[in-house]
Structure formats: structure tokens, C-alpha cells
């Protein structure tokens, strides 16, 4: 049951290393926001090409927790939606598959923003 933790650590760590190298070795214009957008989009593309699936199989949470995993889930959902619901499914599938994550981020984000004040 708990033997999947070390693979999660390794895969998750390596994905983050890619992001760190992107930030350190490229121009200063690459901000955290650019890295996040890039990772989601790459996740969608890799997911669509079937190249992200093996990472998820090996790393579990190590591949789904990084934002590229969010992209992978979006792509997977869109393809499954297209399979079962045609064009409408292609539009709704991605959001459906990630709905809980988006809603959670929105809801918890709002709550925290209301309760706390920035510390600086």
C-alpha cells in the first residue's frame, strides 16, 4: 500500500527539476506564472500523445500533483468526452474531469482570502 511513495517522490521531484532548470537557465522573463501555464499546456499535449500516461503509472501522485498532471487530466477528460459524447463531450470532458480541483481551488482560495491578511 505504501510502496508507491518513493516513486511519487522521485517522479514529482524530477518534474519540478525540469521547471527549476527552465527558470534558472532561461531569460528572466520566465516568471512562475509562465512556468505554470507552460506546464499545464505541456501536460495537455503529452497527455494527448499518450506520453504522460506512463509517468502516472510509475509515479502516481508524483505525476498527477504537479500542474502537468492537471493538463494530463484535462486532455484525458476531453478525449474520453469526445469518445462518448462527440463534439459536446470534447468541450465538456476536460472541465468535467478537473471540476473538483478547480472548484476546490476557487472555494478554498476565496475562504482563505477572506479570513487572512497578507503578512508581507
Amino acid at each position: 500500500m505504501f510502496n508507491n511513495i518513493i516513486p511519487a517522490f522521485l517522479v514529482g521531484g524530477l518534474i519540478c527539476v525540469v521547471g527549476q532548470l527552465l527558470m534558472d537557465l532561461t531569460k528572466a522573463k520566465i516568471t512562475p506564472s509562465h512556468v505554470l501555464v507552460g506546464f499545464v499546456t505541456c501536460g495537455v499535449i503529452l497527455g494527448a500523445l499518450g506520453l504522460y500516461e506512463p509517468l502516472v503509472k510509475i509515479g502516481g501522485a508524483g505525476a498527477t500533483i504537479p500542474l502537468s498532471g492537471f493538463g494530463y487530466t484535462l486532455a484525458k477528460g476531453a478525449m474520453e468526452g469526445a469518445q462518448s459524447g462527440g463534439l459536446i463531450g470534447a468541450f465538456s470532458g476536460g472541465i468535467q474531469a478537473t471540476a473538483v480541483g478547480i472548484a476546490a481551488a476557487l472555494f478554498f482560495g476565496y475562504l482563505v482570502a477572506v479570513v487572512f491578511n497578507p503578512k508581507g
Partner: protein, 156 residues
């Protein structure tokens, strides 16, 4: 546009030469140290995620898919909470991309602008700023997933 060609006296260095000097003197990021820290912090967050998912399956009897979704939501909550407590920016200061790329970093990018601009009201301040950085992520993620779905349909 950079200006040179100034009335003398002025620098006996052209903007091109200056670019070289700046490049030579600008300290480089500590790539090796940053990379190791990103690996450790990112790996740690992902393994905490895995432990949460495992426990949801073991103790709550959730299916693998539900446990994954619930685990992700839990991490988002933790990321948001740590941002509110003023801790998450410290995690990223040390861990760099290791703190930015996991969903906890996504939560941080939503909460931090909302928190910061709360003084500007609950509609434009909190409501609007929640999407300053999350907006582009969702726009590019969802739009590209729709394109993927359509291509999938066409190739089927």
C-alpha cells in the same frame, strides 16, 4: 529604444559594450543547489499527496479515482491555508519550482493576489484577483484540452 549619442562628457562605453560588462558581472543563479532543493521540495509535496491518497483509499474506502481527486483537493486546501498563514512564499523561496509546480503552488497563485487586493473590495479585489494567475492557466489548459478533444474526434 536605448539612447547613446549624447552630448559629451558622457560614458565612453556603448550600450553593446555595457551589455557585455553587465553579463560578466551579473551573479549567476546557483543552479545545482536550486535544482537539488526543487527536487527535494517537489518530491516531498508529491509524496505527501501520495500518502493522503493512500490513506483515503485505506481508511475511507474511496476508489482510486475518487481518492486521487479528494487528495488533490486536500493539497489545494493545504496550499491555500499555508499561503494565508504566510508560510508558502517561504517554501518557494527555498524550494523554487518544487513549490511552484505542484497544485499547492497553483493554490498559492490564486490566493496570494486575492489576499493582497482584499482592501480593494470583495468583488474586484478578492473575486477578480483570484484569477490573475489562475485565469491564464485555466484559459490555456481548457482551450488546449478542447482542441485535443476535437482532433481526437477528427482522427477517430
Amino acid at each position: 529604444m536605448p539612447n547613446s549619442d549624447l552630448r559629451p562628457p558622457t560614458l565612453k562605453v556603448t550600450p553593446e559594450e555595457y551589455k557585455e560588462i553587465t553579463k560578466k558581472l551579473t551573479p549567476k543563479p546557483k543552479v545545482v543547489k536550486n535544482t537539488i532543493l526543487a527536487f527535494l521540495v517537489g518530491g516531498l509535496i508529491c509524496s505527501i499527496g501520495q500518502i493522503i491518497i493512500n490513506s483515503y483509499m485505506l481508511y475511507l474506502g474511496l476508489t482510486k479515482l475518487s481518492a486521487q481527486i479528494a487528495g488533490t483537493a486536500t493539497l489545494i486546501f493545504l496550499g491555500a491555508l499555508l499561503t494565508g498563514l504566510g508560510v508558502y512564499d517561504e517554501i518557494v523561496r527555498v524550494g523554487g519550482a518544487g513549490g511552484i509546480i505542484p497544485v499547492t503552488g497553483f493554490a498559492n497563485s490564486m490566493v496570494s493576489p486575492a489576499l493582497e487586493y482584499k482592501k480593494e473590495g470583495y468583488v474586484f479585489g478578492v473575486g477578480g484577483k483570484l484569477f490573475t494567475i489562475a485565469g491564464p492557466i485555466l484559459v490555456y489548459g481548457i482551450a488546449s484540452s478542447i482542441i485535443v478533444g476535437i482532433i481526437y474526434l477528427l482522427l477517430r
